[in-house]
């Protein structure tokens, strides 16, 4: 009776696939073809003659581009092998990328968008032929209006930061329309608001003032008031902030901004903890945005396309980007030009259609009750995980001592670092050895040796336990076998990578051709 398999160890024995593939150019074999192009019909050829030969010399490319020549299966194999060397959220207990709401992207939604009746639609088609897609755009706008409490919604942008840009562009247009464009040159944000608020405001020509929190990590109302003035165009804040702390005085913040004639812009990229609980409108905001690729489940796609949604009050509605999808009295949908005050197009056409359909489907799968459940369980998961993490010697959650957090927590390994010299970044790299992603936090590291975890609603208790146990194991290693941590990764596709080449213009190699030229061309060799 020998069969029984011993129980599995507490910590997963993981190894990432390793294919050690060359760079694709190295796979080239003269003459091979990956896909063939349809030949021009003889009739066309006869009618047009030698179109290439008759090009002006300036337009005729002298030699073919040095793309690789590879048969189809080998191209496929190469990229499939690379895919296995990538830790998608579908494989991961992906709670380690705090602020990014790595929730489950339902496969049914990927399947639904695959129809040619979406992939093969052109935005200039007769609206009569596009009633389905227009209906979904319009319906999702209405849903997000309800979820935010705002009046009108635009889905044009391809990411959260682009939506933040739209926010500030509308604010700018609004003040200009009111003749205050010259006067209002400042935007106020907080250090725990996403960096794109500061950066987009700057790109729009504003000076940026950053408010720091009080000792307990709460946004500092007094500091805000000191910064506000008639020069203020807007406050642009995230709430809950990256710390997972909800600003209890958010209404006062908005009121204070309004008191000096500024607008209030709410970064709700990640609204995951408060869906159905509280809304941008309830706190008095003039404009907010959501990331469909966070709160509303569209996949993160290696870093996009995501999708941004801007929601505004009636006062800002005239400034929304265009074109607009409208519902006519007979219930059909049409495309209308943006109005005269609009900031115009912020991106081509109507936004990231595949993600708009996915987000619509996600909301339809959950409804009001489900959205609330998502928020509540995300918050439950977060507080549960916090209890587990704080039980690890060396980990702490600075600020708001003894209080609960909303959907994420910015933690610190400061104590562990002081004890061992092992940094948060090193711990993150070692976590990959167990098949888990871990991210430090946004810069600057106001919290020392930071890491931000956000479990969302997608993970079961068992998965949260696994993540926490793995963190604890790495922390133990940091104390007992720090070299194991410092020399990580050990179970990964690649090994410790030297970053010094990446910041030196003489040495960096941003493309294969630059690499060849810099290091292997005759002139270098000689």
């Amino acid at each position: 009776m020998s069969l029984p398999v011993a129980p599995k160890p507490a910590i997963r024995r993981f190894q990432q696939a390793r294919w050690d593939e060359p760079i694709i150019f190295e796979l080239s074999t003269p003459g091979e073809r990956g896909v063939l192009v349809s030949q021009v019909e003889p009739g066309v050829r006869d009618a047009v003659g030698d179109v290439v030969g008759s090009l002006p010399a300036s337009l005729r490319r002298a030699s073919k581009p040095k793309l690789p020549e590879i048969g189809q299966m080998r191209v496929l194999k190469h990229y499939l092998r690379l895919s296995q060397e990538n830790l998608g959220a579908d494989f991961n207990v992906d709670v380690g990328q705090g602020t990014c709401t790595m929730k489950y992207s339902p496969k049914i939604n990927d399947q639904l968008i695959g129809t040619p009746q979406l992939t093969d639609m052109h935005p200039h088609q007769d609206p009569a032929d596009a009633q389905g897609v227009l209906e979904i755009v319009w319906s999702l706008e209405r849903m997000l209006a309800e979820i935010s409490g705002m009046d009108e919604v635009s889905l044009h942008t391809q990411g959260g930061s682009a939506a933040i840009w739209s926010n500030i562009a509308m604010i700018r247009a609004y003040h200009e329309a009111n003749g205050e464009g010259e006067q209002r040159r400042e935007v106020i944000t907080t250090i725990f608001s996403h960096p794109s608020n500061a950066a987009a405001a700057k790109a729009a020509g504003y000076e940026v003032i950053t408010v720091f929190p009080d000792a307990e990590g709460y946004p500092d109302l007094a500091a805000l008031k000191a910064a506000l003035s008639p020069r203020t165009a807007a406050i642009m804040v995230t709430n809950p902030e990256d710390t997972g702390i909800y600003n209890p005085a958010i209404r006062e913040w908005v009121d204070a901004a309004h008191a000096v004639g500024a607008l209030a812009s709410y970064d709700q990229a990640n609204a995951n903890g408060i869906l159905g609980i509280t809304r941008a409108r309830d706190a008095g905001f003039d404009v907010c945005h959501f990331n469909l690729h966070k709160t509303f489940s569209t996949p993160h796609a290696c870093g996009g396309p995501g999708a941004g949604a801007n929601a505004v009050s009636a006062a800002l509605a005239p400034f929304l980007p265009g074109p607009r999808v409208v519902r006519q009295d007979d219930g059909t949908f049409d495309v209308a030009d943006e109005g005269a005050q609009s900031i115009g197009a912020v991106a081509p056409f109507h936004g990231v259609i595949p993600n708009i359909v996915r987000a619509y489907s996600w909301i339809m799968a959950l409804g009001a009750e489900g959205l609330l459940a998502a928020a509540e369980i995300a918050v439950l998961n977060n507080n549960y995980l916090m209890a587990r993490v704080l039980a690890i010697p060396g980990a702490s959650a600075p600020y708001a001592t003894g209080r609960r957090r909303i959907e994420q927590v910015r933690y610190s390994w400061e104590e562990l670092f002081q004890d061992t010299g092992v940094s948060s970044e090193e711990i993150g790299i070692r976590m990959t050895d167990f098949g888990m992603h871990y991210w430090t936090s946004h810069h600057p590291y106001v919290v020392p040796q930071p890491f931000t975890l956000e479990p969302t609603e997608s993970y079961s208790m068992a998965e949260l336990d696994e993540y926490a146990a793995t963190l604890a194991e790495v922390a133990r290693e940091a104390r007992e076998t720090p070299d194991v941590v410092r020399t990580a990764p050990h179970n990964q596709t690649v090994h410790h990578t030297h970053h010094d080449d990446l910041d030196d213009p003489e040495r960096w190699a941003i493309t294969w051709r630059a690499y060849q030229r810099k290091y292997f061309s005759e002139s270098v060799a000689s």
Partner: protein
């Protein structure tokens, strides 16, 4: 809660209760203690009843989408920023891989595949464009060109941009609003579809940050005099920023060889479906010059060595440029943009290879020329210019363009995009057959009767 939801495992009552107990909370409401009562919604959101059973959701969404009629069901000559090119199945296979589709911001270790795939995308685009540096894609061609121009402003410290080509109105609107805190745009009207070199030279001065050329332009005209423009711009100390579509560069000279400093554009043509205009990625290409590179806001993935010989490692080049590193002190901003589409374009170029891109370019030139000839042969249809055109061109009709569109739609044909009362922008690709073009010509002829043409002349 009345349901356990498949997407939310801990809606299972036992788990929920166990977790609350573990953290010593009586209810979930405790976690929300910091949210003042006055801000609470305290009612259900007013949303449609949920379709929690996947079969019901699928039927509902499929039912809505079935109201669409796709360009597979219509004969489409629509372009104007979205192009119906063939997408090889391998492209969809690769970007449909769960590992790529759902990954996000992992380290170069756990996400080696993503880094390599995007480094390859950069490298493949670099060969097509003959430029040494290409970014991890930004949102779209609009954004890419807008950023190309703001880069030129920062590089030169100058305030004016000369727009030398016809630009799609929406792109122009986006760019104008984007750059206006830093730059003013001045349009130098085109002649015969392409740049008016003399007027451009006259407008240049030492306050010009950049000359902006679009090629193919909004009407599909290819700029043949790029080098002259570059020379003039450079002589004035300005940067040449080109907005383009990379699809033709298997056969056409890429702008870098015509003196462009910053080449920008959209990758939708390279392996992305039309998606009702919802799939774009923007590239920004520059030479390997830190003066330019350090002004780029996007991420740049570079090669690096690892502890193991023969192992390619990757990492972020000059990360300190970015808003991730320095918030408003970074260059513009960076965020979630279009990485997966970049991978798609990389797979596309890997499959097409030099021969494929060359054949495709030739096919597009030939079909465009054929379409121009076929349409010009229709009484009441005139070509607007005789520049070299790639894929798109405009015609002036003897009757209102919108009437023609209405009439042809009834025959299942989308003849093009109306760009003016009597002007139509017509687009063909490698998917448009000779027979398709002949059908369009025939349909146009049947609609633009000589009588109607006569009437409209009065």
């Amino acid at each position: 809660m009345t349901f356990v939801h498949p997407y939310i495992p801990n809606t299972a009552p036992e788990s929920r209760a166990a977790m609350l107990a573990a953290v010593g909370a009586a209810s979930i409401d405790e976690f929300y203690a910091d949210i003042p009562e006055s801000l609470r919604l305290n009612r259900s959101l007013d949303l449609p009843a949920p379709l929690v059973a996947e079969q019901d959701l699928a039927r509902h969404v499929r039912g809505i989408l079935a109201k669409n009629r796709s360009t597979q069901e219509r004969l489409s000559f629509l372009g104007a920023g979205v192009y119906n090119h063939y997408v090889p199945a391998v492209v969809d296979e690769v970007i449909g891989r769960s590992e790529f589709l759902t990954a996000y911001a992992g380290e170069p270790y756990e996400d080696h595949g993503r880094f390599q795939a995007l480094f390859q995308y950069q490298s493949l685009m670099a060969e097509l464009l003959e430029m040494d540096v290409v970014n991890v894609p930004t949102y779209d061609g609009y954004q890419a060109t807008a950023t190309g121009l703001t880069m030129s402003g920062r590089i030169t410290g100058r305030p004016r941009v000369l727009v030398a080509s016809d630009v799609l109105p929406a792109k122009l609107a986006k760019v104008a609003d984007y750059v206006r805190a830093h730059l003013t745009l001045e349009h130098v009207p085109t002649i015969d579809g392409t740049a008016d070199i003399a007027a451009l030279a006259a407008a240049l001065g030492d306050d010009v940050a950049a000359v902006w050329v679009e090629t193919p332009s909004a009407t599909g005209a290819v700029e043949a005099a790029l080098q002259q423009i570059a020379d003039a711009a450079h002589a004035a100390g300005a940067v040449l920023v080109v907005g383009t579509d990379p699809i033709g560069y298997g056969i056409l000279t890429p702008p870098s060889l015509g003196g462009a400093d910053i080449v920008t554009g959209d990758i939708q043509s390279l392996g992305l479906h039309q998606w009702y205009g919802g799939a774009h990625g923007g590239f920004i290409a520059v030479h390997d010059d830190p003066k330019f590179i350090m002004e780029m806001p996007s991420r740049l993935f570079g090669l690096a060595t690892t502890d193991v010989p023969g192992e390619y490692g990757f990492g972020d080049v000059a990360y300190d440029r970015t808003s991730f590193a320095h918030r408003e002190e970074g260059k513009e901003w960076v965020g979630t943009a279009a990485a997966l589409w970049g991978i798609a374009a990389g797979v596309y170029l890997s499959l097409m290879g030099p021969e494929g891109m060359a054949e495709l370019g030739e096919t597009l030139l030939a079909r465009t020329r054929y379409a121009q000839q076929a349409l010009a042969a229709v009484p009441g249809v005139e070509l607007d210019d005789d520049a070299v055109h790639l894929r798109e061109f405009t015609v002036t009709l003897a009757v209102p363009a919108s009437d023609v569109v209405t009439a042809l739609r009834e025959q299942g044909i989308e003849p093009g995009v109306v760009v003016d009362s009597h002007r139509l922008l017509v687009c063909v690709t490698e998917l448009t057959s000779q027979a398709d073009i002949d059908t369009l010509a025939g349909a146009l002829a049947s609609v633009i009767t000589p009588e109607l043409a006569e009437e409209n002349k009065r």
